[in-house]
Amino acid sequence: MGFKLIWNTLKQRMRMVFPAQPEKNLEPDMLYDMFYSILTTRPDEIGCDECFEQLDRFIEITLAGKNAAEAMPLVQDHLDRCADCREEFEALLAALRAVA
C-alpha cells in the first residue's frame, strides 16, 4: 500500500526532529503508527485466536518461498497490527528455518 511507504518515510524524518520522552508521551513513531492503525481499521479484521489458528498454514507458505500475504491477507493484516502475534510469528519462523 502506497500509504505505508509514505508513513515510514515521514516517521524517519520526524524521528530526527523530535526528542522522545519515554513514558511521558508518544514518540513520533508511535504516534504515526497509532494514526495509521486507527485510520486503516477495517471491518473484516481477524483476532488473535483466528490468526493463531491459521498461522501454521501461513508460515508454511512463507517457508516455501511463496507470498503468504497474498494467499492469506487477513493473517498478514493482523500480523501488521498486532505486535504480540507478529513477535511470535517471527520467532516461529526462526525456529522452523533453523531446524529444517
Binding site: E23, T41, G47, L55, L96
Partner: protein
C-alpha cells in the same frame, strides 16, 4: 529424529508406545525454541525444557484439534512458541500494574511538541489541529477501559495478553477492545474531516 508423516505422528502419540515419539517431539521442540527465544535474556536449557514439557501437555490434550493443514511438527512448534512467549511475557511484566500507569490526561500522551517548528504557520496550525483532535477524541470518545488499554499498549508497550490478564479478560477480547477503540476514533476522525490523506498532508513537508 525419525521422519514421520502427520498420520504417523498422531498414531504414535495416541498409541501404547508413544515414549519414542514423545522423546523425538520434545527434542525437536527444544531445538526450535532455542532459536525462537534467542532474543530473550536468561533463557537457559532448563527453561527450554520446561517450555517444551508444557507444550507437550497442550499438544497431547489438543491432538484431536489438529486439522492436518500443515505439518504436525509445524503445528506443534507453533504451540511451543506460544507457550514460551506467554510465560516469558508474564515474567517480564509481573511487577507492572495497570493501575500504576499514568492516565492519558495526566501526561502529554498526544504531545504538543509534535508540531514541526520548521513548518510554515499554516502547516503548524493544521498539525496542531490534528493532534488536539486526536487528544480530545481519546479523552472523550473512548470508554475508560478502552483508553486504559490503548495507553498501556501504545505508550508502555504492554503486551495485550498482559493487559488482558490484569483486566480479567483474554487476549482475543483485548484485541477486540482495542479494535472497538480504533473504530470509534476512526469514525470520529473522519466525521471531523480528518482522513489518512489529511493527516499525511498536515505532517508532510
Amino acid at each position: 529424529m525419525t521422519e514421520r508423516t502427520n498420520q504417523e505422528w498422531l498414531a504414535a502419540l495416541r498409541g501404547p508406545e508413544r515414549d519414542d515419539a514423545l522423546a523425538d517431539l520434545r527434542a525437536f521442540l527444544v531445538r526450535g525454541l532455542r532459536y525462537a527465544l534467542a532474543s530473550w535474556p536468561n533463557v537457559d536449557e532448563a527453561a527450554l525444557e520446561d517450555f517444551a514439557q508444557d507444550a507437550l501437555l497442550k499438544i497431547l490434550k489438543g491432538l484431536d484439534s489438529f486439522r492436518g493443514e500443515s505439518r504436525f511438527t509445524t503445528w506443534a512448534q507453533k504451540i511451543a512458541v506460544h507457550v514460551a512467549f506467554t510465560e516469558l511475557r508474564r515474567l517480564r511484566w509481573r511487577d507492572v500494574s495497570l493501575n500504576g500507569l499514568k492516565e492519558s490526561r495526566d501526561i502529554d500522551f498526544v504531545p504538543n511538541t509534535m508540531v514541526d517548528p520548521s513548518a510554515g504557520p499554516e502547516k503548524q496550525a493544521m498539525q496542531r489541529q490534528v493532534l488536539s483532535t486526536l487528544r480530545r477524541l481519546i479523552e472523550t470518545e473512548l470508554t475508560d477501559k478502552q483508553r486504559q488499554a490503548l495507553v498501556a499498549a501504545r505508550l508502555h508497550g504492554m503486551p495485550i495478553e498482559e493487559i488482558a490478564r490484569r483486566m480479567g479478560s483474554n487476549r482475543n477480547a483485548l484485541y477486540k477492545l482495542l479494535y472497538d477503540a480504533r473504530q470509534r476514533l476512526k469514525k470520529h476522525l473522519l466525521a471531523e474531516g480528518l482522513s489518512l490523506q489529511d493527516v499525511l498532508a498536515a505532517f508532510e513537508s
